[in-house]
């Protein structure tokens, strides 16, 4: 188990390094940078722009900048924003709590909805309830957040006036965005839950359980869910990546503070260090969540022998 975790950690670090490198060079393939754009629009001459770029070390060779960045990264230094001069660490730390609050509450919603809908689909198909759950999960999967979000704002804020549409004050401000993002993420969880449970429902040991006289709910609780849920866990870990992406759109739509808003501004203004910092953070979170899921998977399902895999 320990060897497995060690190896998993190593591959996680490799993933993060590769992501950072890709982000670093991909950003610089695109012409222009934050400071040149701002200065040109502010009325600076080419000479003045060159002086500014030199002061920010943007004119040194790319590999030099890259090594410098990696060196800083190893010491936990993500650099400074080109425009606001704030340390990227600070910029991210300021916004991180709000995004985690949104992502976790959306994950909670997605789990409730996804597992619930998936179970109902598996048990009640092809009855009407099952079909309804199926339809809902398809809607969740296939409608973009922009659409469901705008509808939710229209109904709950503009028409009914029961929930605030925008802002990041208290729990009331969290309900709509978490519900919209969670609903969207629940689709995938519901589909996998249904598929996994139906697979288990057809298994021999379930028939045996029925045969020995257990009630439907007892079978479901003791046998089907226990055997059917581990595959769902892997999907939930994948949804973590999806949620990280979804928070960007959700935060912008609901005017919430958070990493997503920060990322949008930084991308539009080509503020490299900020974008890189957020990419690093996302890579770390995503890799860690998936590594954790792998380890948990092994712990939950004895058939997955993590020692052998190592």
């Amino acid at each position: 188990m320990l060897r497995f975790m060690r190896q998993r950690l190593l591959s996680t670090l490799l993933t993060i390094w590769a992501t950072v490198t890709l982000a670093f060079f991909a950003l610089r393939v695109i012409p222009g940078d934050a400071i040149t754009n701002q200065l040109l629009q502010g009325g600076a001459t080419e000479a003045e722009i060159a002086a500014h770029r030199a002061a920010l070390n943007l004119d040194s060779p790319l590999w030099n900048q890259y090594l410098g960045y990696l060196g800083g990264l190893l010491q936990g230094d993500l650099g400074r924003s080109l425009l606001s001069r704030q340390p990227v660490n600070v910029l991210i730390a300021e916004q991180f709590g709000a995004t985690i609050a949104l992502a976790l509450s959306a994950l909670g919603t997605a789990l409730l909805l996804g597992l619930g809908l998936g179970t109902i689909e598996a048990l009640f198909w092809p009855r009407r309830v099952g079909r309804l759950a199926n339809a809902l999960s398809i809607v969740a999967l296939s409608t973009p957040i922009y659409w469901t979000g705008t509808l939710a704002i229209y109904f709950f804020s503009t028409a009914l006036g029961i929930l605030p549409a925008t802002g990041s004050g208290d729990l009331r401000h969290l309900i709509l965005p978490a519900a919209v993002l969670g609903f969207h993420a629940s689709g995938g969880i519901a589909r996998i839950t249904r598929a996994s449970l139906r697979h288990v429902l057809e298994a021999g040991f379930v028939r045996t359980a029925y045969a020995k006289g257990l009630s439907k709910w007892q079978v479901l609780h003791r046998h089907v869910l226990r055997a059917g849920l581990p595959p769902v866990l892997a999907v939930i870990a994948l949804q973590a990546g999806f949620l990280l992406g979804g928070t960007v759109i959700t935060e912008i739509l609901f005017v919430r503070r958070g990493i997503g808003q920060l990322l949008q501004s930084a991308v539009l203004e080509q503020d490299y260090p900020v974008v890189q910092g957020i990419v690093v953070l996302s890579a770390i979170i995503y890799s860690l969540v998936n590594a954790l899921a792998d380890v948990l998977y092994g712990a939950l399902d004895p058939r997955v022998n993590t020692d052998l895999q190592a």
Partner: protein
């Protein structure tokens, strides 16, 4: 599975408990003012966005102000000023009764500290520094007199000094914080104090009860707004929704289509504010076929039905533009309005003259093999490849994503198609890509415009060696008008220089102007005395009034 549910619930409740407490609120009316983007930095001396000025215009005072009605320069922190006869220095006599929000007295030394900060290279000013033009230094004459010196006469100075980017900050505060942290602790002398700035979330101002030194057009209302919270509504469709749902009471840059709906809502008000500077325009590349031909450029403007564009894209919330400056810009000349009215027949006959005498199987005009007698062959610059016969009339436009420019380009495409011009639209993602396309030279039209009350903005686009000379046009006459326009202190002389420049630009058909920019502001009906400064973007918050339920309205 039950455990999973319970865990999720616990996490939710925990997060609910974690959300921060509200800041201490002063009593009095509080409103939310929606900004349309979140500036990456909020320091007016360093950063360049117009958004930062919307709140900060009321945190700082400037040495001079511009009356929003007359456009005259009126006293601000300087009670009067004089220019030396050679135009190389300006002396400002400062008010003696002003103090900053932190109690620091305002004086010539404070102005000196601010000028030092703005001009220091390590500050990395993105806009303010360049607004000072060819400044060489300053002299503090006495405690309340300061003289600014220039290497060349610089007529736009007073306009620059009237803007928030050159607002005067408390020297004590500037000493306490560095260039990265001052933006969170800004202290000026203005009618509102900055209470807090939470990046990505809000910036809060509260009224400065000590404020007694406002410019002549600051008029205290009966029911002033005590606290203003600025929030960032970056997604355009959410802006009108936020007004309707009561999440915001004032909102800038409403989409034209939403503004139509808003105008019909009795609980909301619409304030269209013209923004001075350049109109929405396409710069025409004079170095590439077929826009290297003066005749073709003229024909393109004749072929454009601008009124139809304004109707369709801007819901009529805009005047049609005829020249390189919008109507509310200083020294705008109405004479440009005579140039190139919509006339497809005239466009066709000009194109015929330019050699496009036949139509190919796609309905696009072409130059036939062996130009017909009596027609002018396209004027070519020496570097251009000779044009072979049979080339269709194809025009490439580089279109940025902002300002509804893509929609405008689409209408242009269909308008021009009917008379045989093939417009190819290349949409780019942002300013960097726009600049890259411009540097490649591979375009006929490219859209960019800057804002500003002073017409000096034209120099950035039309001087031969300007960084944004994307028309590629080089003309001694135009260069002279624009450089003298910035140098001549006498407004009458400037007016004639800029009038000549505008006419020259239109005679040469260097741009295709579309519409003057209008900022569509929406408010709830409870907000009154809604006024904006002469630059158009910045609200005069001091004058705003709010009706509370007790007012019987």
């Amino acid at each position: 599975m039950n455990r999973l549910f319970i865990t999720a619930l616990v996490v939710l409740l925990f997060l609910a408990a974690c959300t921060g407490p509200e800041a201490n609120e002063p009593p009095g009316p509080r409103i939310v003012y929606g900004l349309s983007l979140m500036p990456s930095g909020f320091d007016p001396h360093i950063n360049a966005s117009a958004e930062l000025g919307i709140p900060l215009r009321s945190v700082y005072d400037t040495l001079v102000y511009r009356d929003p009605i007359t456009g005259e320069f009126v006293p601000g922190l300087a009670s009067h000023w004089e220019m030396s006869p050679d135009g190389l220095s300006y002396t400002f006599y400062l008010r003696e009764d002003v103090h900053f929000h932190d109690g620091t007295p305002f004086n010539a030394n404070a102005v000196a500290v601010n000028l030092d900060r703005i001009t220091a290279p390590e500050t990395g000013s993105q806009k303010a520094r360049f607004m000072l033009g060819p400044i060489s230094g300053y002299e503090v004459i006495d405690a309340y007199t300061i003289k600014l010196n220039f290497t060349e006469p610089y007529a736009p100075l007073l306009d620059s000094l009237s803007q928030v980017y050159l607002g005067i900050a408390s020297p004590a505060q500037l000493a306490q914080y560095d260039n990265a942290t001052y933006q969170f602790h800004q202290v000026g002398t203005g009618p509102y104090r900055m209470v807090e700035y939470v990046p990505g979330d809000r910036l809060v101002l509260t009224r400065n009860e000590d404020y007694l030194w406002g410019p002549s057009f600051y008029v205290a209302p009966e029911h002033p707004i005590q606290t203003i919270e600025f929030r960032f509504f970056e997604d355009p469709p959410t802006r009108a929704l936020a007004l309707e749902s009561g999440d915001a009471q004032i909102m800038g840059e409403i989409q034209p289509i939403d503004a139509q709906l808003l105008a019909g809502n009795p609980n909301l008000r619409l304030y269209p504010v013209p923004i001075p500077g350049q109109p929405l325009q396409f710069l025409m590349n004079t170095r590439r076929f077929p826009t290297d031909s003066h005749t073709v450029r003229q024909a393109l403007i004749y072929a454009t039905n601008r009124a139809a564009i304004v109707d369709a894209v801007f819901q009529r919330f805009s005047p049609v533009a005829y020249g390189p400056l919008s109507q509310v810009t200083d020294f705008y000349t109405p004479d440009v309005a005579g140039y190139y009215p919509y006339d497809p027949g005239q466009a066709q006959s000009l194109l015929f003259t330019a050699g496009f005498t036949e139509t190919n199987e796609d309905g696009i005009l072409v130059i036939p093999t062996g130009p017909a007698e009596g027609t002018e062959t396209p004027a070519l610059t020496p570097t251009a490849e000779p044009v072979t016969a049979g080339v269709p009339l194809e025009v490439t436009a580089i279109v940025p994503p902002w300002g509804l420019t893509p929609q405008v380009a689409q209408i242009l495409q269909s308008q021009w198609r009917t008379i045989g011009i093939d417009l190819r639209i290349r949409q780019v993602a942002g300013f960097s890509q726009l600049r890259e396309a411009a540097q490649s030279g591979d375009y006929n039209l490219i859209s960019l415009n800057f804002f500003g009350k002073d017409p000096d903005v034209l120099a950035q686009f039309f001087m031969t060696d300007a960084p944004l000379n994307w028309t590629g046009y080089s003309d001694f006459e135009l260069d002279t008008y624009l450089s003298e326009g910035a140098r001549q202190p006498d407004p009458a002389t400037r007016e004639s220089m800029y009038a000549a420049a505008q006419i020259r630009i239109m005679e040469q058909a260097l741009i295709l102007p579309i519409r003057d920019y209008i900022n569509l502001n929406g408010t709830t009906a409870t907000i009154q005395n809604v006024q904006f400064d002469s630059q158009g973007w910045f609200p005069l918050l001091y004058n705003f009034s709010i009706l509370t339920p007790g007012d019987g309205n």
